[in-house]
């Protein structure tokens, strides 16, 4: 895990080595052109930065040596020290030693091989000063064990890379994986042992490559979480609230772009928690809570997912308010709302235009609703849920993929075509007897684990003629037993009847091209090893489609 100290150190070394190379270059040029003021100014700038950076990070030997070199160059600039062969040697030795020190900052047992180099630098300066003051006590320079530079050229072992380049790399890996799966599939068909061996090797290598590229994009969640203590303090001051923030899980790693996308969302939820969740101190005291409000921000990683939780011990969300809001804002009629499960009702806070905030403050309620948060999380294939207990507090849980490239998906067949649903949205798979499905209100429903769930016959939905489409009639179903994939989105469940379940597989989702990209229910497309096209269903879109129907 890369701590900030480690990061600083790597940056320091990379930059210092750059300076070291430039110093060598400039001094060589200066040797040929001793009166070049521009070169001298540049040498000063480099030594100056080296000194300041080393001092800041605590490498005293480096900052001292840079300082001594600076002093010597100061005399050269003021023409008090001639740029003679002897001086040049001393300066080069000094620069070489600087390089040695930089390369050995990690080496605890490192000892400066030849103290004479530093001594000589001091002597050059002393002698020049002596001469300037009219003295003639010139001291003899010591011989130094010269570093032979040509023997060991060292390049920095740290490179900086634009995230754009990593994005491109990841796209290429995605393409490669599709082709790899195709080759694997062909190799199975052909049953050729050499091809099988090569493709098995190819499989391992691409897998390794994929994880290496994904790994290169990982950053610690701490890079975002560590900004929160100060932000929370500022909002709390403005809102006149006392808040204690607890942060944990900073070391969990996540794709940099995913972290970027959720940054605003997390900030929004945090502002809500402080502005609307945590009660003022006097109110808290009255209800017997500690005066100081408690907010915890935590991250956990669970296989290929990262879970971020933001919990406050504030007043919680009043479900009666939410139910009233659903009716008032015209989402659902009152009689339907009273039958909604609590979790279902609560999920409406993520609908556009649904806001419970009564007052607008500087920090929250600026027209950005939780629907924006939800869209951001959806866009990266994540999930968000809210749990709240009136009087006790609210918890937002974000389930995020660690990487955006590859998704685990469930493959299935409908009318001999392949489809996939990201595992992120699948809840369970059940087999149900057709007789246990009920026809209610133009749709089929099933009683699954004590929940009434709307069930959609995908063949009819995807392939039926819009004029005669009937999703509410069991007569269209084939067979006595139906395979149902239960998907969840925003606390709402939907059952999808498929013809045949296929397998679970990692897929690379490609966006659909125009004009088919306008079809909302498909989130993208992938190619299977067999070369067959497989459409990826967009669970949020399908759920929304049936919700508006309701």
């Amino acid at each position: 895990m890369k701590s900030r100290e480690q990061e600083y150190k790597e940056i320091f070394i990379a930059e210092a080595l750059e300076y070291y190379d430039a110093l060598n270059r400039h001094i060589s040029e200066l040797e040929k052109d001793p009166n070049n003021d521009g070169l001298l100014a540049e040498i000063f700038r480099l030594l100056h930065n080296m000194k300041a950076n080393a001092k800041a990070i605590g490498y005293i030997q480096i900052s001292d040596l840079s300082h001594k070199l600076e002093t010597a160059f100061e005399l050269i600039r003021n023409k008090e020290l001639a740029f003679t062969d002897e001086t040049v040697t001393v300066l080069f030795d000094g620069i070489d030693l600087l390089g040695e020190l930089i390369n050995n900052v990690d080496n605890e047992g490192y000892q400066v091989a030849d103290e004479n180099i530093i001594r000589n630098l001091e002597l050059v300066v002393e002698n020049a000063n002596e001469q300037e003051n009219g003295g003639d006590k010139q001291k003899e320079l010591s011989r130094s064990a010269k570093y032979i530079n040509a023997k060991n050229i060292t390049l920095s072992d740290l490179v900086y890379i634009q995230i754009k380049k990593l994005d491109h790399l990841l796209n290429l890996v995605g393409e490669l994986i599709i082709d790899r799966d195709r080759i694997l599939s062909i190799s199975k068909e052909l049953n050729h042992s050499d091809l099988a061996a090569v493709s098995a090797h190819l499989y391992r290598i691409t897998e390794d490559l994929q994880y290496s590229v994904m790994d290169a994009r990982l950053v610690t969640i701490g890079s975002l979480f560590n900004k929160f203590p100060r932000i929370v303090r500022d909002i709390a001051v403005a809102e006149k609230k006392d808040i204690h923030l607890e942060v944990s899980g900073q070391d969990i790693q996540i794709d940099r772009n995913i972290l970027q996308i959720i940054t605003d969302s997390l900030l929004h939820i945090m502002r809500n928690a402080i502005s609307h969740g945590i009660e003022p101190a006097d109110v808290r005291e009255k209800v017997g809570k500690p005066k100081v409000g408690n907010i915890t921000l935590s991250a956990q990683s669970d296989r290929e997912m990262v879970q971020i939780k933001l919990r406050d011990d504030g007043k919680g969300i009043d479900l009666a308010d939410v139910r009233r809001g659903i009716v008032q804002k015209g989402f659902l009629p009152a009689d339907v709302v009273k039958d909604l499960r609590d979790s279902e009702a609560l999920s409406y806070i993520f609908e556009p235009g649904f806001s419970l905030a009564k007052e607008i403050t500087e920090f929250s309620g600026r027209g950005v609703g939780l629907d924006v948060v939800k869209n951001a999380i959806d866009s990266i294939g994540g999930r968000i849920r809210v749990d709240s207990e009136k009087g006790k507090g609210t918890t937002f849980t974000l389930h995020l993929p660690t990487s955006i490239a590859v998704k685990g998906a469930l493959l299935f067949e409908v009318a001999e075509n392949f489809y996939a649903i990201p595992l992120m949205h699948t809840d369970s798979v059940v087999a149900f007897e057709t007789s246990e499905l009920h026809e209610i209100g133009g749709l089929l429903v099933a009683e699954i684990k004590n929940e009434t769930i709307t069930v959609i016959y995908l063949n009819e939905f995807l392939n039926g003629d819009p004029g005669t489409m009937d999703l509410g009639s069991k007569s269209r179903l084939k067979g006595l037993v139906q395979n149902i994939i239960i998907v969840t989105y925003n606390n709402r469940k939907l059952g999808l009847i498929v013809d045949k379940l296929f397998r679970q597989q990692d897929i690379v989702v490609k966006p659909l091209n125009k004009p088919v990209d306008a079809i909302e229910i498909y989130g993208g497309v992938t190619l299977l090893g067999s070369g067959k096209v497989c459409l990826v269903l967009d669970v949020p879109a399908i759920t929304r489609y049936f919700l508006t129907k309701k």
């Binding site: 940056i11 930059e15 700038r45 930065n49 300041a52 950076n53 800041a56």
Partner: protein, 123 residues
């Protein structure tokens, strides 16, 4: 709202440290300029509340950047970041409208104190 800051320093290490300190403290770092020309361009484009300005820059002295900023955007607050031994330049910079200065190596507390004070003043 978040105060917006432009960092001008030729050292990536220094810029990174300053940026981390300032963003951790809730400021928004709108840009990082490694030289004078970029600094002047960024100051115009991003119009920050405050500029932290290193006085020794590769193409230009920090002093020229300060003069350039003060000429076109006189209300922009500028803090000088310098090292020991540059007192002459710092004094001159203060004469040309810099609000305060920080001496390298700096502590986080010092940076936040000077930046906080500079942004508080209704200059």
């Amino acid at each position: 709202m978040k105060k917006r800051i432009l960092i001008v320093d030729d050292s990536f290490y220094m810029r990174t440290m300053l940026k981390n300190m300032l963003t951790d403290a809730g400021y928004e770092v709108v840009g990082e300029a490694p030289n004078g020309q970029t600094a002047l361009q960024m100051a115009k484009e991003t119009n920050p509340d405050l500029v932290t300005l290193d006085v020794i820059l590769p193409d230009n002295t920090g002093l020229d950047v300060l003069k350039g900023i003060k000429k076109d955007q006189p209300d922009m607050k500028v803090i000088i970041v310098s090292a020991v031994g540059q007192e002459v330049i710092v004094t001159e910079a203060m004469d040309h409208g810099a609000l305060a200065y920080i001496v390298k190596p700096f502590s986080e507390d010092k940076v936040l104190e000077v930046v906080g004070n500079a942004l508080k003043e209704n200059a």
